[in-house]
């Protein structure tokens, strides 16, 4: 017996960690070194895992986020203790709200110094607790193997999300006879996958009786890989569908069953159908967030609501639900399809929606220019991963980026993180190096993480950054127009940055576009160049070139 124990080789915690990353098929890590995580770097160096050096830890975690969304498996990022860890916080919150699987690794100061306010010490676990699905301080070598196995499992099952592991430097440095066979033990973690049969039958019964049923769907369809089942279900049931912001690209905008997007930035028709006309709303893979629902007391007020979600806590959180179904969307929809194939709902064709034109967002403030830019982008007939930042351009992109080969948009839906788009696009590239990436930004958002452009240059990424430049914070201006009687403050950038010079300074290529006719050709040239490019669309001058004024376009 003692022979067997002696045979287990003693290795450092860092080596064990990297070994487990490889077992979990991690091919890429986004990170930034520091004193406390250097033992991990020493092992990564020899591992064959591709490490991408960001220029700020926030960049690294958004890269891991973009990677995870495209690769459909956990993105991994690595930061040091103290400021390294705190710089991850925004990215963790972003992944938490959009249910993106991330395993974040942080170095921590040596365990015997914890609690002494040592150099670069923060209470990483308590700081990140509310913005992670789970986190753990790996204080004892014997906990390391189960902690890492659990992290990957928790991040990528049930409702996906970020998991953070904090490793004191001494645990990383010290040799220990690690047992890689030791299993994770998670007695309190059992996500529900199969839906309750009684609830499913009740839902079908209610749909059968419905005269004007509507399906409302969100990003959960992607997260469960349930697109095929979803499309099969709605075609079988002949129910019109409405999407949320996170549901881009699941169904074609031209599909006869597609009505539009709900919410503050949605289509009037979609809001009207859900809130006034529907007698049954079947919500699938959406947390019925406030930007979608708007006024809770008006939401689906004439309808019985069926809600299918993997997370039981999302059901009934803000809207009372008549029939909750907890389970994995792919599983539950397969079950429903099977039942409908045996006995159909009896709906031959979708109910008729009157006045079903999709009116779009306000046309104020150079909106038509944005529309043209996104329509031109959508003309490019090849696979592209498109990310967005946050602001007006994000909402317009959501309506006008319609090419299914460019969708879903990689977008920060829940947290609304400005500065997300560029690093997320870089991460997306590492997940799928056959497909060029495009990052859509406003000038405000771009300047929040613009340093990461150098990562695209270093790694020769076919990235095109499209900046919709209004030299200000456009959405802030819009809100000050609509909600603050036009009292404008703090939304203008008084000094204009030359983004083309910035691109060149970093070793990329820059394009200035000031007229309408150059829009399409420049986008095509930039994407075809297959080098990191920035296109600075001067919205005001483009508007003028089209004989339109920036502030009074079609309003």
């Amino acid at each position: 017996m003692s022979d067997k124990v002696q045979k287990i080789q003693e290795i450092t915690g860092a080596k064990a960690l990297v070994k487990l990353l490889k077992t979990n098929k991690v091919d890429t890590i986004f990170g930034y070194p520091g004193g406390a995580n250097l033992p991990i770097y020493e092992e990564l160096r020899k591992s064959g895992i591709n490490h991408i050096l960001s220029r700020h830890e926030q960049g690294a975690i958004h890269m891991a986020d973009g990677y995870a969304r495209v690769k459909k498996k956990p993105g991994v990022c690595l930061a040091t203790s103290g400021p390294g860890a705190t710089n991850l916080v925004t990215g963790l919150a972003n992944a938490m709200l959009d249910s993106v699987p991330i395993v974040a690794l942080t170095g921590q100061i040596p365990s015997n110094m914890i609690g002494t306010d040592a150099f670069q010490e923060v209470d990483c676990i308590n700081i990140t607790m509310p913005v992670t699905k789970h986190n753990e301080l790996v204080l004892h070598a014997e906990d390391l193997v189960p902690a890492i196995k659990s992290a990957f499992h928790i991040a990528n099952t049930g409702r996906k999300g970020p998991v953070l592991l904090d490793f004191p430097k001494d645990v990383l440095d010290t040799k220990f006879p690690y047992n890689f066979q030791s299993e994770m033990n998670l007695p309190g973690y059992n996500p529900t996958i199969k839906g309750n049969v009684g609830q499913i039958k009740r839902a079908i019964k209610i749909l059968k009786k419905a005269k004007q049923p509507v399906v409302l769907f969100g990003g959960g369809i992607y997260l469960s890989n349930g697109i095929n089942e979803f499309l099969k279900f709605i075609r079988l049931a002949q129910i019109p569908v409405v999407r949320t912001l996170m549901g881009t690209g699941i169904i074609s905008e031209d599909d006869p069953l597609y009505i539009g997007m709900i919410g503050t930035h949605g289509n009037t028709i979609a809001n009207r159908v859900i809130n006034k006309e529907a007698d049954v709303v079947f919500a699938i893979g959406t947390r019925l967030g406030d930007r979608s629902v708007m006024k809770t007391h008006l939401f689906a007020k004439n309808a019985k609501i069926i809600h299918l979600d993997i997370d039981p806590a999302e059901i009934g959180k803000t809207i009372p639900i008549d029939i909750p179904i907890v389970g994995d969307i792919k599983e539950v929809l397969s079950d429903i399809i099977q039942r409908l194939e045996e006995k159909s709902l009896g709906i031959e064709k979708p109910w008729k929606i009157n006045n079903n034109k999709r009116t779009l967002l306000s046309t104020r403030d150079a909106a038509p220019v944005m529309q043209t830019i996104f329509s031109e982008l959508s003309e490019i007939d090849q696979n592209i991963h498109v990310s967005t930042d946050v602001g007006r351009h994000q909402m317009w992109a959501n309506h006008y980026c319609t090419n299914p080969k460019h969708l879903p948009l990689i977008t920060s839906g829940g947290l609304g993180t400005m500065g997300f788009g560029l690093p997320a696009a870089i991460g997306a590239w590492f997940a799928d190096q056959q497909t060029p990436v495009v990052s859509l930004s406003g000038d405000g958002s771009f300047m929040m993480n613009m340093q990461e452009f150098i990562v695209a240059v270093e790694n020769k990424i076919p990235l095109t950054v499209i900046i919709l430049n209004d030299y200000r914070l456009g959405m802030i201006r819009e809100l000050q127009t609509t909600s603050y009687n036009g009292h404008y403050t703090t939304h203008n950038f008084s000094e204009h940055v030359s983004f083309t010079k910035f691109a060149e300074a970093m070793g990329g290529k820059g394009f200035d576009v000031k007229s309408t006719e150059k829009i399409g050709s420049t986008i095509r040239e930039a994407i075809q160049s297959r080098v990191p490019t920035i296109i600075d669309f001067d919205l005001e001058n483009i508007s003028k070139s089209a004989h339109l004024s920036l502030n009074s376009v079609a309003s």
């Binding site: 308590n126 607790m129 509310p130 301080l137 007695p187 309190g188 997370d311 039981p312 806590a313 009934g316």
Partner: protein, 160 residues
């Protein structure tokens, strides 16, 4: 309607589990009236009894959010009609000879226990329902109470 609701959580006895639960409650704006935690008969398993203010929908939301914590094993909403609920209290009283009959009367009435008595200072222990502990504290006012403390609620479902 807002009222006191009781929820019990069975948790893995891991470092930081109290922090996870209190972080969740404060982050989601749930008001804790009382919180009691201790070991159970199962090694490695602790149990929280938490009393919160809110309606039934909030209670259910609290239960579901708590259940999502990886170290939480089991959650249960408890109703007075299907559960026993107890509190425990100790108090330190300053007394003199003339108080003794009254003190003895209270001890008998509430089934209290004397834990310590020296130099005209005694410590008594009470346990019972929240209402009973309220009454005890009211009755103790006739003496000079030097210190007192009561636990939060311990609750357990009746039957199997």
């Amino acid at each position: 309607m807002d009222q006191h609701q009781t929820i019990t959580l069975e948790v893995e006895d891991k470092p930081g589990v109290l922090s996870r639960i209190s972080t969740l409650f404060s982050r989601r704006g749930y008001n804790i009236e009382s919180l009691t935690v201790g070991h159970t008969h199962i090694p490695g398993v602790s149990r929280f009894t938490i009393v919160v203010t809110g309606d039934e929908a909030i209670l259910e939301q609290i239960r579901k959010q708590s259940q999502k914590l990886i170290h939480v094993l089991k959650t249960e909403n408890l109703d007075k009609s299907q559960a026993v609920m107890r509190e425990f209290a100790i108090a330190k009283l300053k007394y003199s000879g003339e108080h003794i009959p009254k003190i003895n009367e209270l001890v008998d009435l509430y089934g209290a226990r004397m834990l310590d008595s020296r130099n005209e200072v005694l410590i008594v222990e009470f346990s019972g329902t929240e209402e009973k502990i309220e009454m005890v504290f009211k009755d103790l006012k006739q003496f000079k109470v030097l210190e007192s403390i009561r636990t939060g609620k311990l609750a357990m479902r009746t039957g199997q």
